[in-house]
């Protein structure tokens, strides 16, 4: 299944990947092969089968609504490349 260069560029953009023209061509070919592989599933008759997102259908477990503070804010901030005070610092986001 052929994937157009524009489609590859779009998907790369959504994933915030900067790809060269050469990479776009290579990855386009590889993505096509992956889709062809998965396409084998089209041979199955799935009429009347509910979409399955999980192998178990027991229902999700719950937690009770009790607040338990996480004690180590410093550890969270230490994972980030930058901070200011108790906040994470990120590259400036231009809002309207």
């Amino acid at each position: 299944m052929a994937i157009s260069t524009d489609e590859v560029r779009h998907v790369a953009r959504l994933a915030r990947l900067a790809l060269s023209d050469g990479e776009l061509a290579t990855l386009g070919g590889q993505l096509g092969q992956i889709l062809d592989y998965v396409k084998q599933l089209d041979r199955l008759d799935t009429a009347g089968v509910l979409p399955t997102s999980h192998a178990v259908e027991t229902g999700t477990p719950f937690r009770e609504d009790v607040a338990v503070p996480f004690p180590d804010r410093e550890a969270l901030l230490a994972n980030a490349p930058d901070r200011e005070g108790d906040a994470f610092r990120v590259p400036r986001v231009i809002e309207d």
Partner: protein, 471 residues
């Protein structure tokens, strides 16, 4: 050409839980940055979200109260996008299979009642907060506070059933009143715990096909929602009349300039690539649980208001005003129980003292006793107002204050007859004119008696006594 607007609303209501939707961080507002954050809500590798039971309870209660059908099986999905207020790079939401479908809300605007469809209700997590430009001068970049990240929300999506800004605003108020009644949301628009986006389009009246819609955001009060929609309808109609076409886009309401502005550039690539979240199993809800929660739904504003008009003889306006706030409605019924002979006066007092009542500054007894004393003629309406004001200021009981301030009216007929007789004796000329048929002069005698008694006489009884003695 005559145009009609088509409006649908998307409401995000923050649920009043103790903890977040998928982790145990506190969901309370106002903590220092990132005090309410943990590895789960900051999207650290290897963590697992676990659903908060109360979030589901609140969503079911909201669904039942708006006539939706709760789905026995619903699925959480990932909505993928990059933005620094969302460290996982996806928001956990519900997409193809939400928790509730197909409800409605009855509204009334411009004297017309209509039913607005509710398409769906789904649960999702909120995003964090960004402070642009940093916290101090010269600071670079944006600062991310993830306290709000993963705070539980329900999104309530209406059908495009509204035709005017007034209808939209009435829908919004009624929806907010219901959620506050259910105690699932505090309904505070300014603080953002009740937010609304509006999809607005216009079409020539009579045309079936919908026009291209614009999505309006950033309206943080009922007034702003109404103004923004009105403005947007006008903008679209003028655009079309001038030969232009409406483009599908998101527009921000600017309350300072009273206009909507296009969010240019932010529209690119809204391709969220939703897929079922592999970390969360489908949510399976037993009928027994829904039934159990159905029992916890209180009497809602509309039926309560109907009961108030029927049972207490209130006007529809007063009844719906009282019924719109649960605490006020409960107070009113408490005050009627404390003194039940004149619910209309009680209703008036409750409406007049609404703010003090909701601030818990006035007791049921205060209102009940003032109404009772007015009813039995012990105090005037003016004295009642003074007594309530003084009671709020001093914390003293109104009946103690009534004696202290000497506000008890003279209502004793015998006592008043003596005063009236004296007034009659002192004004023979007026008596003659009155007896000559000029009955309007009755107010002169009443006025004289009020003057003699320094305003303490009960005017209604004075008037009766005057009429009798002049008879």
């Amino acid at each position: 050409m005559d145009f009609e607007a088509v409006i649908g609303l998307e409401v995000h209501a923050q649920l009043s839980t103790e903890s977040k939707i998928f982790c145990a961080c506190s969901s309370k507002f106002g903590a220092t940055p990132n005090a309410n954050a943990c590895p789960v809500c900051t999207g650290m590798p290897g963590v697992l979200p676990v659903l908060n039971r109360r979030v589901v309870e609140f969503a079911i209660r909201a669904a039942v109260a708006t006539g939706c059908t709760v789905q026995r099986r619903s699925v959480f999905a990932r909505k993928n996008y990059f933005y620094p207020d969302l460290p996982k790079a996806y928001q956990i939401s519900q997409y193809e299979l939400p928790i509730a479908l197909g409800g409605h809300l009855d509204i009334e605007a411009g004297g017309v009642s209509k039913r607005v469809g509710i398409t769906r209700i789904h649960m999702e997590e909120d995003a964090g907060k960004l402070i642009h430009g940093g916290s101090s001068a010269g600071s670079q970049g944006s600062l991310a506070d993830l306290n709000r990240c993963s705070v539980p929300l329900i999104e309530i999506v209406s059908e495009p059933d509204m035709r005017t800004a007034e209808e939209a605003s009435d829908y919004l108020r009624r929806l907010r009143d219901i959620l506050v009644y259910l105690e699932v949301c505090d309904g505070n628009m300014e603080e953002g715990s009740f937010r609304c986006d509006a999809n607005v389009s216009v079409r020539p009246r009579g045309q079936e096909k919908l026009g291209t819609r614009a999505e309006l955001k950033n309206m943080n009060s009922f007034r702003n929602v109404e103004k923004a929609i009105e403005h947007e309808i006008r903008r679209q109609v003028e655009l079309i009349e001038d030969g232009g076409t409406v483009v599908q886009e998101t527009r921000l309401w600017d309350a300072d300039r009273n206009e909507t502005r296009s969010m240019r550039g932010k529209e690119e690539a809204h391709d969220y690539r939703y897929f079922p979240d592999p970390d969360l199993l489908p949510l399976v809800i037993a009928d027994a649980w829904i039934d159990e929660l159905r029992q916890t739904i209180p009497e809602l504003p509309v039926p309560k208001s109907a009961r108030f008009t029927e049972r207490y003889g209130l006007t529809i306006y007063d009844a719906s005003l009282l019924a719109s706030v649960r605490a006020l409605a409960d107070f009113f019924e408490g005050a009627v129980a404390a003194f039940g002979k004149n619910p209309k006066t009680t209703a008036n007092e409750c409406i007049q003292w609404k703010d003090a009542i909701l601030a818990n500054a006035v007791s049921v007894e205060t209102i009940g006793q003032v109404v009772e004393d007015r009813e039995t003629g012990l105090i005037s309406a003016t004295a009642g107002k003074t007594l309530i004001e003084q009671s709020i200021a001093t914390g003293k009981a109104v009946r103690v204050l009534r004696e202290e301030l000497g506000l008890t009216q003279m209502s004793d007929t015998g006592e008043l007859e003596a005063v009236v007789a004296a007034v009659i004796a002192a004004n023979p000329k007026e008596v003659e004119i009155y007896k000559g048929g000029k009955e309007g002069l009755l107010s002169f005698f009443v006025g004289q008696v009020m003057k003699e008694t320094k305003g303490k006489a009960n005017p209604k009884i004075v008037s009766e006594v005057c009429r009798k003695l002049l008879g």
